[in-house]
Symmetry: C2
């Protein structure tokens, strides 16, 4: 920080932060998760062709990585019953884009590999209660499944290129247990890395994280794993997704999940709002002078097309504002 950081440098006025935004990362990666996190919260089944058409438009916007679908039980989440078809089709059309599939267990991982996913995003929670609701397993059982998924990856001929990421749900708050400690997150992260996972995401599943909590947990994780690629997955339930993004950027985090149109939620976290809208995040990063690989105007156009295409309302500040030409 520059020299003018003293707390009382202007005639007694408390100037506590310099906000030298030039010290933030110069580039950030934005990972589009609407086709998974957004779609899974749409009650009416979206026809496969419509899913693929929206994925085509997102691919066109320049994302390097897209979370394409989720290999979960179709009984639990009927919206994802066509996961294999969507994934295979996406890879045929957009082979160069890294295609992520969420998987909660071994069975999902096998299906995802067979369908051509590049990355298996294995989800487990930092809180026992949410892990049980979300995956019907204890955290320990989920970790055993993760170990098995890592073994499968090694064993499947020609599948060694597959990456395994671990998404740590309820990393800040749990809808059933309340505040989640940084230690609980670190414990899961440590086990996941020791099992051989390639990447991590820290998820604010409830969307109720706030700057103090985000700072504490992200700093603890970063101090323990300074070189590890870590994605931040924020929902916007309390309207703090962007301020939490700023805190993460300030700690050197530079990869963020987001969902076009602000769709999303969690079927097992009642009341959680959607993901931070991709267009809101891109606009925010742009205002801070942080570059991404994504074409903002194309993303905004996709967002604006969503109510007509999917029959669901947007949860996006920017798309709503642009509808009024601001």
């Amino acid at each position: 920080m520059s020299a003018d950081m003293s707390v009382t440098d202007m005639k007694g006025i408390n100037i506590s932060h310099n906000f030298d935004f030039s010290l933030l990362p110069r580039r950030a990666e934005v990972i589009e998760v609407c086709p998974r996190d957004g779609f899974q919260n749409v009650q009416t089944f979206i026809p496969t062709a419509q899913k693929i058409a929206l994925l085509d438009d997102l691919a066109e916007a320049g994302f390097r990585t897209i979370e394409v679908t989720s290999f979960v039980s179709p009984k639990a989440i009927p919206q994802m019953a066509d996961a294999a078809e969507v994934m295979a089709d996406f890879k045929r059309r957009h082979g160069a884009i890294e295609a992520v599939a969420l998987v909660p267990n071994v069975r999902g991982a096998e299906k995802a590999i067979d369908a051509g996913a590049d990355v298996l995003n294995f989800v487990l929670s930092a809180s026992e209660s949410h892990n049980r609701e979300n995956t019907r397993r204890t955290i320990e059982q989920s970790l055993s499944e993760l170990a098995e998924v890592c073994r499968i990856r090694e064993g499947k001929k020609g599948k060694k290129g597959k990456k395994i990421h671990v998404s740590v749900a309820t990393s800040f708050f749990c809808p059933f247990e309340g505040e989640v400690s940084g230690d609980a997150v670190l414990k899961v992260v440590e086990r996941a890395l020791s099992l051989g996972c390639d990447g991590l995401s820290i998820a604010d599943t409830t969307g109720t994280a706030h700057p103090v909590k985000v700072r504490d947990t992200l700093r603890a994780v970063r101090e323990r794993y300074p070189e590890q690629k870590i994605v931040l997955h924020l929902h916007d339930t309390h309207g703090m997704a962007l301020v939490n993004t700023l805190v993460a950027l300030g700690l050197g985090y530079d990869a963020f999940d987001a969902a076009v149109g602000g769709l999303g939620g969690c079927p097992f976290a009642p009341g959680a709002a959607g993901n931070v809208a991709t267009e809101d995040l891109l606009n925010f990063l742009g205002c801070l002078g942080i570059e991404t690989e994504v074409d903002f105007s194309k993303v905004l156009a996709v967002a604006q097309s969503i109510p007509g295409r999917l029959g669901v309302p947007l949860c996006s500040h920017l798309a709503a504002a642009r509808a009024c030409k601001i």
Copy 2:
């Protein structure tokens, strides 16, 4: 800031901000503006008794200052046709609460004084085009009106206790001219203070300000006027109201306008979203450990009652989330 502020103190990871929230102001003032900024954007006339009932509930929540109404032409904004009645009734019932009236000109100021307002909030814009749309005057003509309002305050027998605040609209962006320079804001602020106004508010009328712009303008104003009480008035068009609040807090600002339920907008700034919702702001300040004089649960209850009472939707993250019990 503490000693761990170096930019590359963790094995090459860019840790650019310490986010020592304990250095932020310990207390902040929240000024409720829904009865003015919120109501004026409700298309259907709200019966006077309903306005007063909602004001009673807000008074009960503990606000020290409430913007009660606006003395504007009823032709321009029919919703405010009962301004005198609302103000007089409010002062009868809640004499201890500082009652603010927005006034755009001398005529409005006289009516506000007669009705018993404690504070005249004189509005003018930092950008010519918006000032003309909003008040049908050039900035220079508005400043002349302000001078006249200051003279009236001195002249009116028994009215010497009235305060005059100046609200600088479009302090960051103008819906017609785009970005507004910090110099344009300083120019208006300087003139207003030289005419004898007692307080100031810096308004993001379009709700499109972002952290870099907010930092630059607020720092420039604070450097020039380190001791002046200045209120920040934020709208949430781009979802950045809370991150902008953090930047303002970091620069020592500790007074914020907000509207219960997130109602509001500007009749002459098409597409601008509502004010930051009071409940979202209070929740945010609470998370940062910053105290206010206001009872959060009472404010939230008022917000939740608004759709039923006024027939308008909420623009509040928290009220929406609480409706789902998160």
